[in-house]
């Protein structure tokens, strides 16, 4: 406890301090501002050069009509209106929606596994490494590998037949629906290790005592997961959700390229692969850009809710 020795008048002055003398602080403030700007500038320059300029260029190209790599002409909204009548484009976006529908699996599966690792389930050290290993394999290699594994006479079907599950030994990459979900499953196998690592980093910020208290209070695994971990891990879950929401639509190219090339028919055609086909194989640059811009909008709309949520979480004042 401290005792004030100041007079009442002084005390009044102390409780109502005079406004700060701005004249003295302004140069310091300006210096800080300029230093901050200087530090941000390289990042801004890189973002503008390599993100904004290509995006604007892409938008401009999407309004052009070209044949091959020859000169182009202004096409107005033609490329965009054309998309509504193009069955391949519609199929690719329909497939994209189906892929987005698998997002809960992308978000929940790594969360459950990371909590198991965090609470040191038997073999946790081994699994921590094993889950992350697929992420370190180049996706094109993963694709080539799984093309063999999922082939009609491949090891998965051989195993299923050997254990008497013959009806489950389907043509994984050839079915109208199985092909797309096989592709997503391979992508999930390849990427979920990153999610586990992300959640583990988030879990490291939760005080041990909180989880221990919940455990001592008799909360089971699922109760601890949904009542303690998820609320405290909200920013991490939101971050991983944004990454997945955009990632499932822009990570799959190498897998499609190596596994199915968009087939059979258009069963695994996704907008990102269609952009590649249209631009580089059909040489329809303007239309390819328009599909790319449509995909950009699709991903942006999907991500915007999560980003907004993350921003709110990040700026929420502690009670």
């Amino acid at each position: 406890m401290s005792i004030s020795t100041a007079s009442a008048a002084d005390s009044a002055v102390a409780t109502n301090p005079p406004p700060p003398v701005r004249r003295n602080r302004r140069p310091l403030h300006a210096r800080e501002w300029w230093l901050g700007a200087l530090l941000v500038l390289p990042g801004m320059a890189l973002a503008v050069t390599f993100k904004l300029v290509p995006l604007i260029r892409g938008v401009i190209t999407s309004f052009e009509s070209s044949s091959g790599f020859g000169d182009s002409s202004f096409a107005g909204w033609d490329n965009f209106t054309r998309m509504f009548d193009d069955p391949v484009v519609l199929a690719s976006f329909r497939n994209a929606l189906l892929v987005v529908a698998t997002l809960p699996v992308w978000i929940v599966l790594p969360l459950v596994l990371s909590v198991l690792i965090h609470q040191r389930a038997p073999g946790w050290k081994f699994f921590r490494a094993v889950y992350f290993v697929p992420y370190t394999i180049a996706p094109i290699v993963v694709g080539i590998m799984f093309r063999q594994i999922l082939s009609p006479d491949g090891p998965i079907n051989a195993l299923l037949r050997a254990v008497g599950l013959e009806p489950l030994a389907i043509e994984w990459l050839n079915g109208q629906n199985s092909a797309l979900f096989s592709l997503v499953a391979v992508a999930l196998w390849s990427f979920f290790g990153l999610g586990v690592m992300t959640y583990l980093a988030g879990l490291a910020t939760i005080p041990e005592e909180v989880l221990e208290a919940a455990y001592l209070d008799g909360a089971g695994f699922w109760r601890r997961l949904f009542s303690v971990v998820v609320p405290m891990l909200r920013p991490t879950v939101a971050y991983w959700s944004v990454l997945c929401a955009s990632g499932v639509l822009i990570w799959l190219f190498p897998l499609i390229y190596a596994l199915t090339q968009g087939g059979p028919g258009n069963a695994t055609m996704l907008p990102e692969y269609l952009v590649f086909l249209t631009t580089f194989q059909f040489l329809d640059r303007g239309y390819g850009s328009a599909i790319g811009i449509a995909l950009f909008v699709f991903v942006a709309v999907l991500s915007i809710f999560s980003v907004r949520h993350m921003f709110k979480e990040g700026t929420r004042k502690p009670r």
Partner: protein, 430 residues
């Protein structure tokens, strides 16, 4: 006034001289280095020989070869074309692929005939397969499709390998026999465009005339036309009748499909005569004495093109519009079309030459190669290269779906028509 005019004329003269020096006046100060963008058709050994031989006979020109894998080539070439910069000489496959990118090349004008005078054909390097129109480059290889067969597999199925099937029905019967012997009849991989692109012209020759094929190129022949629908029906039969390996829809033709044949597990393989895979690769894998080659089975004996060979030039090399070494570039592509390079092509790439003057003594002695010589003597237009990108893609995807029972031929024809209407190069009125 006169002085001002004189100054203007002099300035224009200096500018023109500078421009001409930039355009073609290369090699003034020592050797010129030509940048060549290639996917190395025929292999790296052949291209090393090209560099050595060309530089030895052209002391003033050096070659700087930028080699890119074939499947990555368009991605590398595209930015060069859009930025109008980069290589002095580039390649594209004859046909629509070259037409789509012709804006990057210097039209050869009257020099085309002069440069290509000793070639069997060079129309695939010219607009509309017409040598009287603009030509954009120089080919040196000859490409087309044949049916290779494994004599041991045919023998094992009780068939006479010296008399392979000639008609569609005979081929079907041979396939049944091979299937009964436990082997695959026709090695095939349908993931990707190659088999659709290669096999389509071999069926199409039974239904289309050369005018029809030109209509296909121009985009005026509808895919709903009964002739094209019949082509699709026969293409569908190849897989729906069970003539191929069951995993065809999920594997690629190169290398997977070709591997089945090279392992000795299939009776037949429908592929090409040059470049990526040919008689030489199959001969090495199976033994030249076991490798046979025949035409694709004939469906309509009376069709005018049924007995012909769908021939097409291989890669076409042209000089880029932005090159400042155009004369040197022309020198190089002229040499590519010549006899010396034709002989290198045969010797090191083991492929079919396009130059008529190649020393016959250099030609391989393989029986399969000799048989191919008989086929290429009766050429016609290759319908496969008349397909635009969207059409070739839809053909391949439709064939996959037909094989899996997910599509009917009529629906396939609908999809082909939609693809034609989406093709930027075939838009009517262009």
């Amino acid at each position: 006034m006169f002085r001002r005019r004189l100054t203007g004329v002099l300035a224009a003269g200096v500018a023109t001289a500078a421009m001409l020096a930039g355009c073609g006046g290369d090699a003034a100060d020592g050797p010129v280095t030509l940048k060549v963008l290639t996917w190395e058709p025929g292999g790296s050994e052949y291209w090393q020989q090209v560099k050595t031989s060309f530089e030895a006979s052209h002391q003033n020109i050096k070659l700087d070869l930028q080699s890119v894998p074939f499947d990555k080539y368009p991605e590398v070439q595209g930015p060069y074309i859009t930025s109008q910069s980069g290589p002095d000489v580039m390649a594209n496959n004859a046909g629509l692929e070259l037409f789509d990118r012709r804006g990057a090349y210097v039209p050869l004008g009257d020099r085309a005939a002069e440069i290509n005078k000793d070639l069997v054909t060079y129309s695939g390097a010219c607009e509309g397969f017409d040598t009287s129109k603009d030509c954009f480059g120089v080919p040196f290889s000859y490409q087309g499709n044949v049916m290779y067969f494994n004599k041991d597999v045919l023998r094992g199925a009780g068939l006479d390998p010296e008399n392979p099937p000639v008609t569609w029905d005979e081929f079907g019967a041979a396939c049944e026999a091979i299937k009964n012997s436990g082997k695959t009849c026709l090695a095939l991989g349908l993931s990707g465009t190659f088999p659709a692109y290669w096999d389509f012209p071999e069926i199409a020759r039974n239904y289309l005339t050369e005018d029809d094929i030109r209509g296909l190129l121009a985009g005026t022949l509808s895919w709903k036309d009964p002739k094209l629908v019949q082509v699709l029906e026969k293409l569908a039969e190849i897989t729906t009748k069970g003539w191929t390996n069951k995993n065809a829809p999920s594997i690629t033709m190169l290398p997977d499909g070709a591997d089945i044949f090279q392992r000795g597990d299939a009776g037949f393989a429908g592929t090409i005569i040059s470049d990526a895979v040919n008689w030489e690769a199959f001969g090495k894998a199976l033994g030249d004495d076991k490798l046979g080659v025949t035409r694709w089975p004939v469906i309509n004996q009376s069709a005018p093109l049924a007995g012909k060979f769908s021939g097409i030039e291989g890669a076409v090399y042209g000089v880029t519009k932005w090159s400042e070494k155009k004369e040197a570039g022309l020198e190089f592509i002229t040499w590519l079309a010549g006899k010396d390079n034709g002989e290198l092509w045969v010797k090191h790439a083991k492929s079919q030459p396009l130059n008529k003057n190649v020393d016959p003594a250099l030609l391989p002695s393989s029986p399969a190669f000799k048989k191919i010589q008989e086929f290429v003597a009766e050429p016609t237009l290759h319908a496969g290269v008349m397909l635009s990108g969207p059409e070739a893609d839809a053909l391949a995807r439709g064939w996959q779906q037909i094989t899996l029972g997910q599509l009917t031929v009529d629906k396939w024809a609908d999809q082909m028509q939609q693809a034609l209407e989406r093709s930027p190069t075939k838009k009517q009125g262009n």
